[in-house]
Symmetry: C2
Subunit: 233 residues, 2 copies
């Protein structure tokens, strides 16, 4: 019988924000897989590290840093093949996923390659939007408010329309799109309603009004906008 | 010195989907507070139960089941006063919150009453949207997709516009709004892209294509819609 594929959400970065279930499954795993940068660093592995068993088999999937899709797709092909080999021996494979596996996660590239042939179980994790709201110390949405989650990678025109039509907004993947986002929010008079968060829940996290944000943002940064005045009152 | 107020996300229902941090803080708490139905049942307390210390002080906030706002606001006033008394003795109070405290959570009513006078720490939890996607076994959003989270309690016209303008959609709080939502999705030819989830991650969970959903939905039900074909491929 084939092994089972687990996609396990690790939460936003603080290892203590992993679920009890994630910790149990990682601690029991004889084979884990995770994405790794070309530098050899893996955020997912770092979050899970203290739960890994001695001698656990590790499948590190090196993701090329390029906007071209083909090299990354090739890397996932290779990673999925390695995982497939282990699953076919009857052993389970636990894929370590930053945040939540199905929320803008790279796990979907393994899922699409393996879910037809193997049993899959997803363990949801605390996503970065909830993490950012917790450190900004402001509710995301209340009662009948609508929350729109928008990647800042969209073209400026699209982004501008999405923001104009939204109530509460989380702008993901800000990184090198920071100045574009700032310009849109200024044009819509929303700067006073926007907070900037960098590396939420990690020791080097930064939280501030967007007006005070640095000019250069890392990939793991987010902007939360709430158009209401104290919407939770 | 005053005690600290904790708003602790418990995740969607499976007690194992609570974070390590939530379990640690609940286990250490000498006073917990939580919302309770008039029947005496508390979903939050049930999720946290196995971590509660013997002899822990419990502040149960009985929330009247009515759409009128005044009785509920009075209940939160009373609950906040009880919590305030404990905080003033220097002891911490841990508020048990279903899901994530700042994601449509009733915690905000305590937060608004107490956060000016006391230190507050929010522990984010796995929210119901991530939980539903995990049991539907389909990615919520990938790459540059926009996710719109909409309470089904909105008037039909608003709801219809929000759904028409969105890509991936999570419809919260479906409950007695199920037939209204179904009619809108049918009119927009989206029934084939919609999944219904009831009590995600609990032993009595239900997951099915929306077309097969029962006619009556409980409050803890959700509909996920993804307009793309296999958006993760």
């Amino acid at each position: 019988m084939n092994g089972k594929l687990y996609g396990i959400g690790l939460g936003p970065g603080d290892p203590e924000l992993m679920t009890l279930k994630a910790a149990r499954l990682i601690g029991a795993a004889t084979c884990v897989a995770y994405p790794m940068l070309e530098t050899g660093a893996s955020f997912a592995r770092a979050i899970a590290q203290e739960h890994l068993r001695d001698g656990v088999q590790e499948i590190a999937i090196a993701i090329p840093m390029t906007v071209a899709r083909k090299p990354a797709q090739d890397a996932y092909d290779m990673g999925a093949d390695e995982i497939r080999k282990v699953l076919k021996t009857g052993r389970d494979v636990v894929v370590l996923c930053e945040g939540d596996p199905f929320f803008y996660g790279s796990f979907m590239y393994l899922f699409s390659r393996l879910s037809e042939d193997f049993k899959v179980e997803i363990v949801p994790g605390v996503n970065s939007v909830s993490a950012c709201a917790s450190v900004v110390e402001r509710p995301l949405v209340a009662r009948s408010e609508v929350l729109t989650i928008v990647p800042a990678t969209l073209p400026a025109d699209d982004l501008s329309v999405k923001i104009a039509n939204a109530e509460a907004i989380a702008l993901m993947k800000v990184g090198r799109h920071l100045s574009k986002v700032k310009a849109i929010l200024k044009a819509q008079n929303l700067m006073d309603f926007a907070h900037y968060v960098e590396r939420a829940t990690l020791p080097n996290q930064k939280v501030m009004p967007l007006a005070d944000a640095p000019d250069v943002a890392p990939y793991f940064s987010m902007i939360l906008v709430s158009k209401g005045n104290d919407p939770w009152l």
